[in-house]
Amino acid sequence: MPFDVIIIGGGLHGASAALHLALRRQRVLVLEKSMVGRHASGANAGGVRTLGRDLAEVPLAVAGMELWHGIASLVGDDCGFHAHGQLKVAESAAEMQALEARQASLQALGFQHEELIDRDELFRLVPSISRACVGALIVRNDGAANPYRTTLAFRARAQVHGAVFREGAEVTRLERLEGLWRVTTPNGCEDAPFIVNSAGAWAGRMAAMAGDTIPITTRCSMMIVTERLPHFLEPVIGSQGRKLSFKQSDQGSVLIGGGHQGHPDLDGESYAINTRNLALGAAAALALFPQMTGVRIVRSWAGLEAQTPDNIPVISLSPRLPGLVHSFGYSGHGFQLGPIVGSAVADLVTHGSTNLPIGPFSAARFQDQELAI
């Protein structure tokens, strides 16, 4: 039996788990239905942030930030990571109050990384932003990276340490046989004591195939990229009152996201852009940067990922089934968690537990919920 762990899903979370497990001398096989980084991992906005996370995610994200700041030594590639800060701007006194309340709740938990700034500091950091803004929350050492490049870097480093990646290998059956998992693909079967379910938008199906019922829906967030422009923006911009993420890449192009939804097609592994919703993203960007009205959109796209009912991921051992670790449901904010969660998954596989703060992400929390895949 050649493998200790079979990872289902070759996105960033699968590749990160593969690397951390391979570093601990586990013999790893990653089965990817299509191509590594094909879906959410290659399509997301690339935001690397602790800012604005659900309180349940904050400890994990803060721990993960240290890995990002040393990403080159972990995977041998800087992944295009820059840390010029992430901001969440307020356009009114009421929004500013909401930001103040947020900062207070974090401080109550002992976290200082989110900092309230006033208009003057905002305009000093972001000279091009609309003067209608009144302030912001900032995390100064948050930033952004290149998602596809990051995913490929994790794969490459995992392969260097012996992990095997198979593409075009869709898992069609999962069954327990004599204390092992038998994983069937069109190319044959493999057995291993442990499997990791990091199948992204298809993870609910994988869970069900194994025997776990975990409700997820499909998220299909759209992105816009513009023509290249002279450099005008360093930090990543978000908004308290609008669905918006706005950043300028090192290529000069501007990436606009915010979670506006397209039409997913899970079976077809594809999607259709919803132009009216996309227009909302453009409108939000122009509300904060009105001078961009004549800037041209070169391309739009979307990614397919899993959305949980409570908007936080599932990272845990299966509550009922032995030898199964779940890592999915990142609901639009999984990129930054990729490097650290791989380590948690490796802990769960090799030790059955982890010191990393993944308590709130247990699959058991859905045990009483109805099937809604």
């Binding site: 000279p127 932003i129 003067r131 023509e227 290249r228 422009l229 940067f289 001078q291 004549g294």
Partner: protein, 99 residues
């Protein structure tokens, strides 16, 4: 690089290419005007600042991006000339207005 045959191809008008007046005819595109003006490069490429000029003249290649009447990144081969039009080379990174 190009000149107009003399025997009248429709009403003539004047546009400005890099500030210089150029005689064109109705139906010509802004890209045509740039070629008639004798420009060899009409833009600097976005990455390497390489000299580029119209290639297909039918809206497919996007090499003819120019700044027309102050608006950047227009496909000049798809913009019909109008009297007094101002046509300029596209820099590799077109400027956006300050707030």
């Amino acid at each position: 690089m190009f000149r107009k045959l003399p025997d009248g191809s429709g009403p003539r008008l004047t546009v400005f290419v890099e500030g210089q007046p150029v005689a064109v005819s109705e139906g010509d595109s802004a890209a045509t005007a740039a070629l008639l003006a004798g420009l060899s490069a009409t833009r600097a490429s976005a990455l390497g600042g390489q000299p580029r000029a119209p290639y297909c003249m039918m809206g497919v290649c996007f090499e003819c991006l120019m700044v027309i009447d102050g608006l950047a990144s227009q496909q000049a081969c798809l913009v019909p000339v109008r009297e007094g039009m101002r046509i300029a080379r596209q820099p590799s990174r077109p400027a956006i207005a300050k707030p």
